[in-house]
Subunit: 336 residues, 6 copies
């Protein structure tokens, strides 16, 4: 059995070489039962299994940026196992079947990639729809909008500390924004919505809206272990025992002390992080006690829900319903 | 004992005559224990009571647009009772005391108003901070933004039906936006926020955002009985047995049928009204199944919460907490 | 793979021809592991599958009025697949096995039915224990007992509208009374119980008890799509977005308006439909506010529970317990 | 201060003598503010109090079978206090006032009763609407309907044991059926309803329905201390520490053993008592596992609810709502 | 398929003969994927199954005192099935594989045990870590510490009644202390902790602490059917319909009456049993009303939790987390 | 009106002088209605009120270490008000009355204290039953039992920081241990119980039990503002916005960093503080993941409950019940 992180696999390869991708290639989201398939995919995981009758075969999960599909290599050979083991990215040929309502690829041929394949990695990794550098830029612009120089400095210092990871971290292990750059994208959209709502509810203190959004999830970076493709292998020890809310509070306390941040400002920001999940059973032992903390919660949940709705409805035909969506309390969504 | 609706009282008077108000007058919100007070106020309710020792006195609640205060006339006379009974608006003179932590006015003199008092009614009635006609205008502009002509027509027809009451109805009997014009103000702000969020989440269908906001609470007008000063005496019979959500759904069904509204559009709009309270225990037996229904809920709750936060913090000193606020799960809010 | 609705299958056949059934035939409920089986059954669904070793076989679910059983045809051939695909009802021969605690038929022979088989469809379709016409009659008798002529007319008009479907609709997709004629049977028993309780609690207004029972679930007919054998393929679009409670309320509103039904009567009946599930989380945002609405709820739940208890205990040996029953909060029932 | 049980008071008097009541007498339920009152009432409790100014007065609560009213004797004298202390039943003269929305009697004259008053005690005590002996008779008839001679004997023995108290015990300290004979009345109505439902759901074992109803609340007699007028002073020590459900189970266990009752029958009956409150938080750690136990719960709750609805709506005008009723989750009931 | 209770199997064998165990033998807890295995194990259950391709094989679960492992005999023969069917304990030879993350033994050879195997049964049965007689002794010592002679006699009589089963009964079917002697071990540790806490909270009445602990779970012996190896086949009929709490209360009532136990003492002890699960939804309709009843609950839950924590962390590496533990609300425990 | 903190009052006095107390003095807990009273008490709060008739009087709450009682001075004079305002401790003479079931003192004479009164302050302040220095000593002994020198140093440093306040801080504003020295007493008893349970559950790491207990509530000192008599005026700003759990975590993080505490040890201790309230709705977003964290919770809750039970039962007669106790879910406790 082999279960390798995407990062490990790619590390040992000449990444420069994998630049382009033989076209045309079938995107996983577009596979249809009954059709032939030929394409280059990333191996998310694989396992050598046996049929109940004892025959060996290889069970693989393939991904590209559009989705994931299960595949089988029924004709097992040591050589084929070697190909699968040694290559993180493979070119496969086969046939798409339908199996208990899901698609499955029956692979007839598999090989490692070669320079002529011109692999473009970004085509294989699910990630945010905006370029990381563009998102990082947007975030910096909002940081600059913080008028209180102490608060701005605090935010800048903390962002600087996590900058290099922020560029690829997902916002979650599973669920909403759990892809490369997801944390950044989530933060950016909340800043945009926050700015807008601040135009309607003009008594809000925008410094705290921006600072609250920028800091509320930043410690997810130390709560989870993600590789640079946004795949989280696990939560960290401190992440499990304390969680990103507690970690974020400590971050503000300590970084605030370093720059002599006014005690009231520090505590109010910590309170925003503490209360942003709103309900005790979701991790917030205190409910928001300032309007900015209240809004922070709504910015957060709206962005998560919009993500879930948009994704769930993506492949749905107009006039029909999705399957039950566990994340959304088993609702069946309707696509107009 | 006498408990008269504000509307009844004012009906029998020459309203034209009450145009101005002798200045300077103490706003109720600004009364301070220990000071003298002289001013013109609306009588919200009054009762002739007896002390445990059997002595009669008059217990009155006075309001102006800034708040409400309890007052006592210890020197009871038939004549004074007559003055209080026959006048909806009175001029009083007295002294502000503190009683178990609340302010109370000990009235030494009271009389009905006279033309020279130049009463301005709008100074006495709590109401939305924007002019009704301006709000109505804004609402019409948003209605025009609905591209689907069927949906727009439906909204226009329903608004037209309730137009004359919409101008003064509150959004609730108690709690958020429970003042003259509150329903209109609540609707307007939700339209504004909805428009903004639609700029961030561009996959949303704005026609349904606008139509959903405009219709979601419209049947509060037939759920509650309000006088033209925005004071709700009670819920209606149908309001109690069915509620504005059910009433709103029927409205769309029936008005939709009249104009031949596409069945799918009608049902989707009814679903938005049905699900906008989100939780079954708050009146929504179905959760939102479209992204527009989901957002409608958040626009609604954000506007209610911002109202509550803003009001609660109004009189609070920076650096201190409010008392426990029942409406906000007994939170003590903090004013920075 | 093939999943065909029972109705579709039967439509293309000479139903007249299938009149009798070769006896003796094994009822599905009476199959015992280790025995031979030969009989005529309806195919509920089937699928061509592959073993882990790649061999094809056919997986079928067979039903008759007594129950359902899974079966396998291990010897796959194109011809057998054709037989299964083209026939809704088949005659099979095989052997009953036990598989992980469930019975399973290993089919050795399968063919379509022939005239000589004399198929009686009612033997194959699970349905209510009373004849539809008898139930419909009973319901009409109770309708006549409504003294208020307006209310009676309302009920008659609505029943007339749904009459042709009421005769076969089930009361649910799964769970209680989910068989042909189930809705009618459920309604009839509630009328009978309601009449009885009205003899004990004589202050109840029987007009509303009868009207409430007759209308409370009638819109299940437009909430679900059922074929004429009482098999529900799915909920309708409006059923999912609004549900039969909301649909029933609109029905009363609209049909009531047509006949000039007194407003109070209409609203009280709508309230009964609205509140009959009692708890918000089960779909009723208002609790019963009249004694008739209160009783309606209990008539409904008692009938559902008695159905579940009776069915669950059917095959249980005296002195033993049933397995955990999910529908009844995982209770193990005891059979005395 | 004096708070005396009704029973104590009456014990020391010649009850024979108090046979009739001077007519006409104002029933408490019919008192109207502004009218004079003269009548004979039972003193439920009284207290000598002081006004804030230090003046003594007597605060009394008067009852008759139609209700309860608070009264004041402002002219305190030692002699008046003696009259109130020494008489359980008094004749009063006074005036009905309205005080913060409640009626209150201002007593000008009070004296003890005299033979010529011809007091009829049953006019003063709230009680079930059917004669105790008639109810007891009905109960015996149902007992005879139990076919299983062992089960019948068990029920007869237990009823015999509590017979003399059953005739006057209420079914509760407060709430439903909390009056003289309430337990008997509650039991009788449940037997009647149970018989009726057994006609619809014919698979039910009526022996257990009848036995279950007859035994389910019988140990309320040892859970509460009631005087012979159905007024409960308190729960007993065992009632508080264990409760009537546990007490009832032990009763069946022990009395069953005495007559050699079949173990299965005993346990099934104990289970019915154990599960009849249905929800753990209402005292039933096990949910019903037999259909008879299930029905027992519904008979119980229907009778309680019908009692509450009937009482709540008694004085309500058609077309109006009651106040919020705490016992019914704060519902406002509607009277058609 | 064969599923035989351990007890049945062993009954028909010469237990004297199985005295020793050929060493060295691999403990199940120590099996490692990739290694050979040879050892003597108890067959917990087995089933003859078929692969999807129709080939027969035997699926067995093997246990020893350290744990349980699934095994397969792929080479099915009638003879092998007979060996497995006729022997409760077998000697197997094979290879340890890893299968979807779990260990699995592929058995190549299996035979029944022979005298020379010198089987020591206690090596095969999971049981408490202290000798039963030693635990029984400890329990008797604590019983002697009860000063009130009536209470002590009650406890002694009840213990005597269940003595012979107490020595091997588990404390549960699954979950904490579900092994041979578990009930005794659980009781003993609670007595020890109770004694200790009594030293800190000296106002506690130790007689009731000891008596409460000794009696609180004693009726698990009549709630569950356990063989003499601590394996529970099922709950008893009375166990399911009433449960050990109710059974324990009746035990105290009846045995108390026999020895003339003071009524207050009996009721207080019954109350302790009734309330020891604390929450209604866990079976206690009354909460503790004496400090001894309160402490009894905590002694119970602490012992259960310490058991769960100790077991869960047993095989965990320092610095790592366990998997999610269902019994502990899906917590991942951390091992320092 | 005057509401002065005890501390303020005492500050301006010569505390040295108030050394003894005129004996005999009536302890507040022992006051009986109908008796005369003469004694020296602390004024907790007072207010000048008016009767409904307009007469002024003084309403005072008096305390000594045994309890609190309400008192009235009906004969108001400016001079008496001055006496009450200027003295924190007064000598009063009067009569004990019963008022609506509570005791009340009618004061006839009041004066400030004089040197000859020999006031002993500790007789007037409710406090823990053990001397502060003795408790502090015990705590230091347990600190020394921590074997891990890093962990011990951390605990010593934190205790040192709060040492001077720990000696008088209560453990709560209201509820359990809300008196002078309450925090210390609570901590001490938990250490004692923890030591005991460690003897039974020997796999527990005692270093973490002791450190966890010593640190779990230490930040209550910065969560609440207490005067040196253990009376909490309010929560601090940081206390309200974050709470002592979050504050305690930050304390360990920061103090741990200062001494180079091993990261794992620091996080595990922080987790103990985080999880010690166990349920999210009581402030712990994470449940205990180590056995020591699990035990810490139980030590905490047992000590709180034993405190509540002991106090509630203090004045209760054997064989009777207490009133409903809000803190204990409205239970009525029983005193054997």
């Amino acid at each position: 059995m082999g279960q390798s992180s995407i990062e490990d696999i790619l590390k040992d390869k000449d990444k420069e070489q994998m630049k382009s991708l033989l076209s045309p290639q079938k995107n996983i989201a577009k596979l249809k039962a009954g059709e032939k398939v030929e394409g280059i995919y990333l191996i998310k995981s694989f396992e050598v299994k046996k049929t109940a009758g004892g025959k060996q075969y290889i069970d693989i999960n393939l991904v590209d940026k559009t989705g994931e599909v299960n595949a089988k290599i029924w004709d097992y050979s040591k050589e084929t196992e070697k190909t699968v083991t040694e290559n993180g990215i493979v070119k496969v040929r086969g046939e798409v079947l339908e199996w208990s309502g899901s698609k499955q690829v029956k692979i007839s041929k598999v090989r490692g990639t070669i320079p002529q394949d011109n692999v473009i990695i970004s085509e294989l990794i699910p990630s945010a729809p905006v370029e990381p550098t563009e998102m990082l830029n947007t975030i910096k612009i909002y940081t600059k909008k913080i008028n209180d120089s102490q608060v701005r400095l605090l935010v800048e210092n903390i962002l600087a500390k996590y900058n290099n990871k922020l560029i690829y971290y997902p916002a979650a292990k599973k669920n909403h924004h759990s892809y490369m750059g997801g944390l950044l994208y989530h933060t950016m959209r909340m800043l945009q919505s926050g700015e807008k709502l601040g135009q309607v509810y003009s008594f809000l203190n925008m410094d705290y809206i921006y600072a609250g959004v920028l800091l509320h999830d930043i410690c997810k970076i130390i709560e989870m272990d993600s590789d640079e493709y946004g795949v989280v292998s696990d939560y960290t020890m401190e992440g499990k025992l304390l969680g990103h809310i507690i970690q974020g509070i400590k971050e503000i306390e300590i970084e605030g002390e370093k720059i002599g941040l006014d005690r009231e400002k520090s505590v109010v920001l910590q309170h925003m992080v503490l209360s942003h999940h709103y309900e005790p059973e979701f991790g917030s032992p205190k409910k928001p006690m300032t309007p900015e903390a209240e809004i922070l919660h709504f910015l957060d949940i709206i962005d998560a829900r919009m993500f879930d709705f948009e994704r769930a409805l993506e492949g749905t035909e107009p006039g029909s319903f999705t399957d039950k969506i566990w994340l959304l309390d088993n609702r069946n969504l309707y696509k107009m």
